[in-house]
């Protein structure tokens, strides 16, 4: 595992504030990079007007 990938994963774990046991570290690191590979499509170019789906709705007073 190159140092930059190892340090990227270690930083992600620190930011999340979770603890990963030593015996599960490699499996979680592999999962992290598999997830990032799937998510690469999120970086495809978007138009400015492509707003997020989850916007608040102001349909009236909330109880």
């Amino acid at each position: 595992m190159p140092d930059d990938r190892e340090s990227e994963f270690a930083a992600a774990v620190r930011r999340a504030g979770v603890a990963i046991p030593a015996e599960r570290w490699a499996a979680m690191r592999e999962a992290y990079f598999s997830m990032q590979a799937l998510l690469a499509v999120l970086d495809d170019p978007r138009a400015y007007e492509d707003e997020p789906a989850a916007l608040p709705r102001y349909a009236g007073p909330q109880p």
Partner: protein
């Protein structure tokens, strides 16, 4: 019919039970006793139930019997047993979410959906197994074992509404409630050979149901027949001002729509999605045959193309992992050992995502929803795969932190459209295969109409699992 005979027979459909109760031919107490006896006989094999609520069920059945005898029948579901995935609150009962973290969590009020089913006079017979917090996967390091598939207990039920699929397929109840964030109603329905409806996001209240992902969570029914699904939806659907995601829209007569058939309907078959979703040959052939059956009933079948599955998966996984981590972050940081290993690791992945990724996924979500909506400009309903093939062996399910095969079902969690899974054949090993019908937002009625017409023509509901222990 003797108690042994009743135990040996799957509970009748909701529709049939309702008719027989109304005519006085069937007693709600006898029906509850049959459900409880069948649960007691089968649960040691299937592990469908976390808790069987015998005394409560019999008291409710006796009350129903008195009311009906007194001319106060509440409707077609009065006096009929049902069960709840153990993430639904029922006042006075534990809601454990199949987790060590909630072993002492006794609900003080009913979930909105529980309250609707109780008001309809239904009889709660128990709380059902789930994947922990409706996520993770089947796990053997929890206080309760994972549910097993009635068609072959060595096989996976699908999840996360695992006990719901098992209990309905085993004929213990004819209605079980599930929840669906990425396929958790439709996957167990598909693997267990039942009907399962993920309603449109916002159609059925989520209040009082343990959340997994606020912007994707839906609640809905698993049943043996499509008609029963329509009967359940008639009770479940409707606005709940105390659920922030609830839609304030009229509820149609779902059962009446079933009479209309499919002649003249245009159904878009997303055939290329089979290859994109790595669907196996038996399941693909069953979907082709489903399309042919519908064409034979007078529907017009056209092939349509969904956007690439990878886009849906990136979107669904980013949103689901981010929101579920937000919900569980405090416990994951302070007492992670209480979760099953697979739950803990899959939930933790959400903590590695960035705010930018979450926003980009929500932008992609709107684009994908628009593209699927465009397909409905020329079709009333879509036909798609929901599983790649029959249920895998339970002990061989993927229990790693990152699922190698991405679920096909989450496509319509991303877009919010209503989606119905129902049997469309059997694999060579005797396990069920499934088709998915998808409709326009809030048009569950047309989805159920297509499902009902197909079900009556195909006849798959006549085949039931052969169960040992009865």
């Amino acid at each position: 019919m003797s108690a042994a005979d009743m135990r040996a027979t799957p509970l009748p459909s909701l529709a049939a039970s309702g008719r027989r109760i109304a005519s006085g031919e069937l007693s709600p107490v006898a029906l509850a006793e049959a459900a409880l006896a069948r649960a007691a006989a089968l649960n040691p094999t299937l592990d469908a139930f976390i808790e069987i609520t015998g005394e409560r069920a019999l008291a409710a059945a006796r009350r129903a019997e008195r009311e009906i005898a007194g001319g106060r029948r509440r409707g077609p579901l009065h006096g009929i047993p049902y069960a709840l995935k153990d993430i639904y609150d029922a006042a006075g009962l534990r809601t454990t979410a199949h987790s060590r973290l909630l072993l002492d969590n006794v609900a003080v009020a009913d979930a909105a959906t529980t309250a609707r089913l109780e008001a309809a006079g239904m009889v709660l017979v128990g709380k059902l197994a789930t994947h922990e917090f409706a996520t993770g996967g089947p796990a053997f390091d929890l206080p309760f074992p994972p549910a097993r598939n009635p068609w072959n207990p060595a096989h996976f039920t699908g999840g996360s509404s695992s006990g719901s699929g098992a209990a309905v397929a085993a004929g213990i109840v004819s209605l079980a409630m599930g929840s669906d964030t990425g396929g958790s109603i439709r996957l167990p329905a598909a693997y267990c050979g039942t009907v399962g409806l993920k309603p449109t996001y916002g159609r059925v209240s989520r209040r009082g149901v343990a959340p997994l992902c606020y912007s994707l969570d839906t609640t809905g029914p698993l049943t043996w027949t499509v008609e029963d699904c329509a009967l359940a939806m008639q009770v479940l659907a409707g606005h709940d001002p105390r659920d922030p995601g609830s839609a304030d829209l009229p509820v149609p007569d779902y059962r009446a729509a079933l009479r209309d058939g499919v002649a003249g309907l245009r159904i878009g078959y997303a055939r290329a999605f089979n290859a994109d979703g790595e669907v196996g040959p038996e399941q693909s052939a069953a979907l082709d045959a489903t399309a042919q059956t519908l064409a034979g009933l007078g529907a017009e079948i056209v092939e349509v193309a969904l956007p690439p599955n990878a886009q849906f998966q990136a979107c669904a996984r980013t949103i689901s992992h981010s929101e579920s981590f937000a919900i569980h972050a405090a416990d994951l940081r302070s007492r992670p050992e209480l979760y099953a290993r697979v739950t803990r690791e899959r939930l933790m992945l959400g903590g590695f995502l960035t705010a930018t990724q979450y926003v980009q996924a929500q932008r992609l979500r709107r684009i994908l929803t628009r593209k699927v909506d465009a397909l409905f400009e020329t079709c009333e309903v879509l036909l798609t795969a929901v599983i790649p093939g029959p249920a895998p062996i339970l002990e061989e399910t993927d229990d790693g932190p990152w699922r190698r095969q991405q679920p096909l079902a989450s496509v319509f969690n991303v877009t919010g459209h209503p989606a119905l899974a129902q049997p469309c054949g059997f694999a060579g090993n005797g396990l069920p295969l499934s088709a998915q019908f998808v409709g326009r937002h809030f048009d569950e009625a047309t989805v159920l109409r297509v499902g009902h017409a197909y079900e009556r023509s195909a006849g798959w509901t006549e085949r039931r699992p052969a169960l040992a222990g009865l």
